[in-house]
């Protein structure tokens, strides 16, 4: 029984001595434990995201091997300028997000709000460019299943004359565009969710949250945001940069 009494005492006194911030949930012993479990939980969620996108990357790898010429031709139809721009935008947004975490760590409310707003802005720029790209794909009949036409590949225009494909390989460009839309679409969905969550965080930060030591939500959202950036870091060369020298 003695060990129990000792435990009760140390737990009690520890409880009183530590600050007991309002954001400490009662099934946790202290703030440190809460912060570490939250971060660990977010990392496990990111693992599920790795495997979720992993299935798509697996499909991409297989079909790129099988239909390389179709993938080259399809890739050339994407705007390398917009793709590079979007990559730069996302990298910048990762920087602003890291700075937001930093602001929360040094407890600076104004800086936190500024950096969060900057991240939202950059996220929206990315989504806007993506929407424009999708629109262009729709106009050019490159949307699989809905209005797909292989005319651009069997009878290419002057700018793309090196991309002429035989009819059966031209059919396979639909696989490329399926993967393009599935992968960038899934990525864009994650961006939309991210921007929505950011909006909530900014509103709460405006009300004074996250600058009183409660860094975990900003930090863990940052992990999610950086992960979405990493997915794009891989999507960009795989989709946009297939053999630009041809």
């Amino acid at each position: 029984m003695d060990s129990h009494t000792v435990a009760a005492q140390t737990a009690e006194t520890a409880h009183v001595d530590h600050e007991h911030p309002p954001y400490l949930r009662h099934h946790f012993v202290n703030v440190e434990q809460q912060r570490e479990t939250a971060t660990f939980g977010m990392w496990l969620f990111l693992l599920t995201e790795i495997m979720f996108f992993g299935g798509l990357f697996c499909a991409y790898l297989i079909y790129r091997n099988w239909y390389y010429p179709a993938f080259v031709a399809g890739s050339h139809q994407l705007s390398i300028f917009l793709g590079t721009l979007n990559t730069a935008v996302l990298i910048a947004s990762s920087f602003t997000m890291a700075m937001a975490v930093h602001s929360s760590e040094v407890r600076s409310r104004k800086a936190l709000i500024t950096w969060l707003l900057a991240t939202i802005f950059l996220g929206c720029v990315f989504l806007g460019v993506k929407a424009d790209e999708y629109h262009e794909k729709w106009e050019k009949h490159h949307v699989p299943g809905l209005n797909f036409s292989t005319a651009d590949f069997t009878h290419p225009s002057k700018d793309y004359k090196d991309d002429k494909l035989a009819p059966d390989m031209a059919e396979k460009t639909q696989v490329y565009f399926s993967l393009y839309f599935a992968m960038t679409g899934m990525h864009a969905l994650h961006m939309i969710i991210g921007v929505s969550l950011l909006t909530i965080l900014v509103i709460r930060a405006w009300g004074g949250a996250y600058v009183n030591g409660h860094v975990a939500p900003i930090e863990n959202f940052g992990l999610y945001w950086h992960f979405v950036d990493i997915v794009w870091i891989f999507l960009f060369p795989l989709l946009y940069l297939i053999s630009r020298h041809q």
Binding site: H27, F28, Q33, G41, F52, G54, L56, P144, Q174, A182
Partner: protein
């Protein structure tokens, strides 16, 4: 010594005044709870409901298969029935059964914590399960799905006009329910253990759930993306699995089985955790080779990721990769066998008593071994070519899942029933039910091994007349099995009001959960426990009993 456990004198036994069950009243306090024990109870009720729906489907299957022609059900309807049976039993029963009910209830208590790491996510997990279940019920009512639970392409993507999309999305949602449960367990086990509770003092139940949770977190997302692709293929026609557009239907199978093979380990590992606890307690002996059993759980989880294509040997994969997968399949059987050896060694020279949980555990040992061995037979390519898509496969997985996992689940429900409800179930009836289940199971599924190697294909509503005798045995067994499963529903419900009061530790078991009251308080422990003894330390329990007043209610 009698095999019936000695219960406290009922006239003086009382339930504790305050417990998690009566701390708060009202529907909202249950539907918006963060208490892992209440969530476990919510799961228990929902899982039981879906089990009986799946069971009804099984009943229809066995009724149809009494006679060779497809006379009770048309072939299309039969397809819908076995699909429903598969989806409901796999995703709505087997995957969440032990983790979401017993695991949710016990993991925090066993590690010495007040709750899981993320109580709200735990509740979300249950709601996702309910949404998934509702969507499946919708598909049943609205006309069914007939792809088989495996959604194989191109059948599911191009040749059917049943509710594949709804079913696929339902499984997607159920998958996330599973992921969140697993995530919660991993974080809790890593970060919320009580002082003194080192990894190697944890009950093996916790180790099994840890291994299963790793599989849930890493494997289930691949199923999720696969189902998304099937939905996109059906709706927009993207062509990723369509040969006419350049896709490969086999890619679906790779991605599907990448999850679904680890899924069978997700299903069995928690059950194995239950068996460790039950065998130890009813032999009054620590589990032999604790470290081996703990590491073999993790080994099963890791190796389980390397063997999925053994479900695809005849589907068109290259023989070279089939060879690799076959070899690895042989390896993955080793950790499971290690566990069986260790449990047997635990029994050796133990003081064995035959309470109901132990009866189920013995059933598990025999039936899982048979099921597992037949799995090894199927892992060798030469055998598999003959046996695949026959009733041999059906018998194999029912032996491991029903003879193994379901028995382990029932063992766990009976073992921890006193802890969860404060009441004992009636021992006589429960033993009868266990024996009925065992006999019914053998009668149902053993003939199916024979049917399989004689060549009867699976998923067929009609079969050649020479197979009828064995099918009749199987259907007869199914009715016995049905009785065996109905009985616990009845007497466990009965025990809630009329069962004997259990007290804190009716089984004289070790483990933190048995040192607190039955049913537990909402916060589990009055003060944080400090752990100084190893797992399954019966000497410690003996010495503890000597210095304290036995708690009766």
């Amino acid at each position: 010594m009698s095999t019936i456990v000695k219960l406290p004198d009922q006239s003086t036994a009382q339930l504790p005044k305050v417990s998690y069950l009566n701390k708060e009243y009202g529907l909202k306090s249950w539907l918006l709870t963060g208490d892992h024990k209440r969530i476990a109870m919510l799961y228990l009720i929902s899982i039981t409901f879906f089990f009986f729906i799946g069971g009804a489907m099984a009943g229809l299957i066995r009724l149809e298969l009494l006679t060779p022609p497809s006379d009770l059900l048309a072939a299309d309807t039969y397809n819908k029935v076995f699909t429903a049976h598969g989806i409901v039993m796999v995703f709505l029963f087997l995957v969440p059964s032990v983790p979401a009910t017993i695991g949710n209830f016990l993991i925090p208590i066993m590690v010495g914590a007040k709750d899981l790491a993320f109580p709200k996510i735990n509740l979300l997990s249950w709601y996702l399960y309910i949404v998934a279940g509702s969507m499946i019920i919708f598909t049943l009512v609205a006309g069914g799905v007939d792809t088989g639970w495996t959604f194989t392409t191109p059948l599911s993507t191009h040749y059917l006009n049943t509710h594949v999309i709804t079913a696929g999305l339902a499984v997607f949602v159920a998958g996330f329910s599973s992921i969140f449960t697993g995530l919660n367990f991993i974080v809790t086990i890593h970060r919320m253990r009580a002082p003194g509770m080192t990894w190697f003092r944890l009950p093996l139940f916790v180790w099994s759930h840890y291994a299963a949770s790793i599989l849930m977190v890493l494997g289930t997302p691949v199923l999720a993306i696969t189902l998304v692709l099937v939905v996109l293929e059906r709706t927009i026609g993207i062509g990723v699995f369509d040969p006419t557009k350049g896709g490969d239907p086999l890619l679906f199978q790779h991605l599907f089985w990448f999850y679904s093979h680890p899924a069978v380990y997700i299903m069995i590992l928690p059950g194995m955790g239950v068996i460790s606890e039950v065998i130890s307690n009813f032999s009054r002996k620590r589990v032999f080779g604790y470290t081996a059993v703990a590491f073999s759980s993790v080994a099963i989880a890791v190796f389980g990721f390397f063997v999925w294509a053994h479900h695809m040997f005849v589907m068109g994969i290259s023989n070279y990769s089939a060879l690799v997968f076959s070899l690895l399949t042989m390896l993955v059987a080793v950790p499971s066998a290690i566990k069986i050896f260790n449990w047997s060694a635990t029994l050796y020279k133990g003081s064995i008593t035959f309470e109901t949980p132990m009866l189920y555990a013995f059933g598990f040992l025999g039936l899982f071994t048979i099921g597992g061995l037949t799995g090894v037979f199927l892992g060798s390519m030469g055998m598999d070519i003959h046996l695949t898509e026959t009733y041999f496969i059906v018998a194999h997985f029912h032996f491991v899942m029903v003879g193994g996992m379901l028995m382990a689940y029932l063992a766990g429900v009976h073992f921890w029933w006193p802890k969860m409800t404060g009441r004992m179930y009636p021992e006589g009836v429960s033993k009868l039910a266990a024996v009925i289940t065992f006999v019914g199971f053998i009668l149902t599924f053993f003939p199916q091994f024979i049917l399989g190697y004689l060549g009867m294909p699976r998923r067929y509503a009609a079969y050649p007349p020479e197979f009828q005798v064995l099918n009749v045995f199987s259907s007869a067994g199914a009715s016995v099995l049905g009785i065996g499963y109905m009985l616990p529903l009845l007497y466990l419900t009965w025990s809630l009001k009329y069962g004997k009061i259990a007290g804190a530790n009716p089984w004289q078991a070790t483990g933190l959960e048995w040192q607190i009251q039955s049913p537990p308080l909402t916060e589990n422990f009055i003060e944080t426990p400090i752990v100084t003894h190893e797992a399954y330390d019966y000497e410690w329990l003996e010495s503890k009993k000597g210095s304290e007043v036995p708690t009766v209610g």
